[in-house]
Symmetry: C2
Subunit: 340 residues, 2 copies
């Protein structure tokens, strides 16, 4: 087993298949953009930072598998493949960000061969930066955690959502590395159970104590003062709202009601400082994720189902945003975030 | 298919097996207390009012299957069986209430034969009263529903939680019967999915529009003003708190935050006006309900799991309690509730 969630080897991108964990550890090999697009749609790879890295490697795949020899035709194909990849998931901003960073480098290249080389170089750089960023987020965030403490988290903002280490769980890892005693309450995160399956799996692997609860039990644990702080990841942060896995907003409201700090941990690449909440599309996923579980029918056929993948939490409900450059406290001065 | 959730026929209690809905409609026959206790523990029958009726019929079963011929030995056996049945589920107060109403009648009987007769009579009376009570709750509550309106509910407080008609869903049924346009948003209710499986099934059966959502999506629908009011059942109402399915408290807090009315509908038999919240045991159910779904492993073996079946909502968060005698507004004057 490797520490990385996704990595390049030979001429392929490899990723841990997150749909079969924790029952099985399997690796998916993507040799072209189409296979990667399927992996993203099926959530074999997910998590905002990991999607940024996957998008970047996707463009390296696009460049290196292209059969075009003339630069204009090659660049047109790259643009088409970039469009295809961006459409796989609309809410996390990092996917587009990673794709664009590589396509910008490709567009500036003098030849197809040059483009194929710089594309992979840039993707490797983004992956390396992601690791460094997570370690920096961890160091910044660890200082906020009391010792000992119990952290409530939702979905998976861990190593499996990044190249390694993680954002929200990176903060937990860094605090534990500093010698703090931290235990995690992981909301199972319906309907796809990334909390139960992925957060629990990766924390157990690192020997960090973790307890899984139904999403709906979080508020009553807060009332019983069993949670010291809430710590989640982010799929996109606009000037006014945090977009994250459905259920995040409820935790933010109930944390505020109980005077419990509510933090999100995210790289600056997750910020979308020129957009407002209403401009962002919230992905509505297929009803079958709620209707069935394996062979078990849960919802009668004639009943309706709604399955939004994300929700928006107004930033005034967020105590602080833990980034690689420090903690930002709303209201945000986005000019500071945009500056290099 | 019958309208009743449970009924007496011959010398047996029959119940709809709620563990296999909506995939299959099956009926369980209980010929003795032991089989009924298993049905209650396995949640083949559940819901506070239905448990009251089941407990009552359980004591009729105990009386009618007894082989004791001397009255003292017979009464000792009845007490033993009552204890066994009460222990099956600790949180819903109606179960004990139904058991006690019948055992009190048995204790006053002049002979074993007489006891066997009055026990069944009293159980039938409780079942009849439950139907009448639900219809009365429905009439009282229907007046509170705007027309048209969207009601958020949690778990199942419907016909399947009672003899028929239901408490919270009885209010919806009565409003629809009065010609109001009501649609229901049903929280799926992890881990056992009574909302997805049972609430959706029984509303579809009655032609009332219903949409199932993950529990964690309720707050963001409230924020988007898509919910007009929250309406849930109750497993027990003490002088200071509403006990209901885990997740109820989160809905109460988020409803208050969004200024959305939060009602519970419950018969007076659900009140426990001499106890306070801290005196009530919250049932902690087996971890396997969260760890697996069919053959699918959701939580890694080494991770902890917590699975409280209920939570407590302080009454100040409850807008009103819809009972068969009218709506009660907290703070409660329990002396009024205790008076006949």
């Amino acid at each position: 087993m490797r520490d990385e969630t996704l990595w390049w080897e030979g001429e392929s991108l490899f990723l841990i298949d997150q749909t079969v964990l924790p029952a099985r550890y399997e690796v998916v090999e993507c040799t072209d953009v189409e296979r990667l697009a399927r992996a993203i749609r099926r959530l074999e790879v997910r998590g905002a930072p990991a999607l940024g890295v996957a998008g970047a490697y996707g463009m390296a795949l696009a460049a290196r598998t292209s059969r075009e020899t003339s630069l204009p035709a090659f660049l047109a194909e790259i643009q088409e493949q970039a469009g295809l990849l961006k459409k796989t998931r609309p809410t996390a901003v990092n996917l587009s960000w990673g794709i664009e960073r590589v396509t910008t480098r490709i567009a500036a290249a003098g030849s197809v061969e040059d483009a194929q080389e710089v594309a992979l170089e840039e993707a490797h750089r983004i992956a390396r930066e992601d690791e460094e960023t997570c370690l920096a987020i961890g160091a910044v965030g660890a200082a906020l955690l009391p010792d000992p403490c119990t952290v409530l988290t939702h979905c998976n903002a861990g190593a499996l959502a990044c190249t390694r280490w993680g954002t929200a769980l990176g903060v937990v890892r860094s605090a534990v590395a500093e010698g703090k005693e931290v235990q995690v309450i992981a909301c199972e995160t319906r309907p796809l159970l990334q909390g139960a399956r992925l957060t629990a799996w990766e924390l157990i692997r690192d020997g960090i104590p973790v307890t899984v609860i139904p999403d709906s039990a979080a508020a009553s644990l807060m009332r019983r003062r069993e949670i010291d702080l809430v710590l989640v990841g982010a799929d996109r942060i606009t000037v006014d709202a945090l977009f994250n896995k459905i259920g995040t907003y409820a935790h933010a409201v109930t944390a505020r009601y109980h005077d419990i700090p509510f933090y999100t941990a995210a790289p600056l690449s997750t910020f979308d400082p020129l957009r407002k909440e209403w401009e962002v599309t919230i992905e509505e996923r297929g009803g079958e994720e709620l209707r069935t579980c394996g062979d078990w029918q849960l919802v009668p056929d004639q009943a309706g189902v709604r399955n939004p993948a994300f929700d928006a939490t107004p930033l005034p409900l967020v105590t602080g945003i833990i980034t690689e450059r420090g903690v930002l406290f709303p209201p945000l001065d986005m000019s500071r975030i945009l500056s290099p």
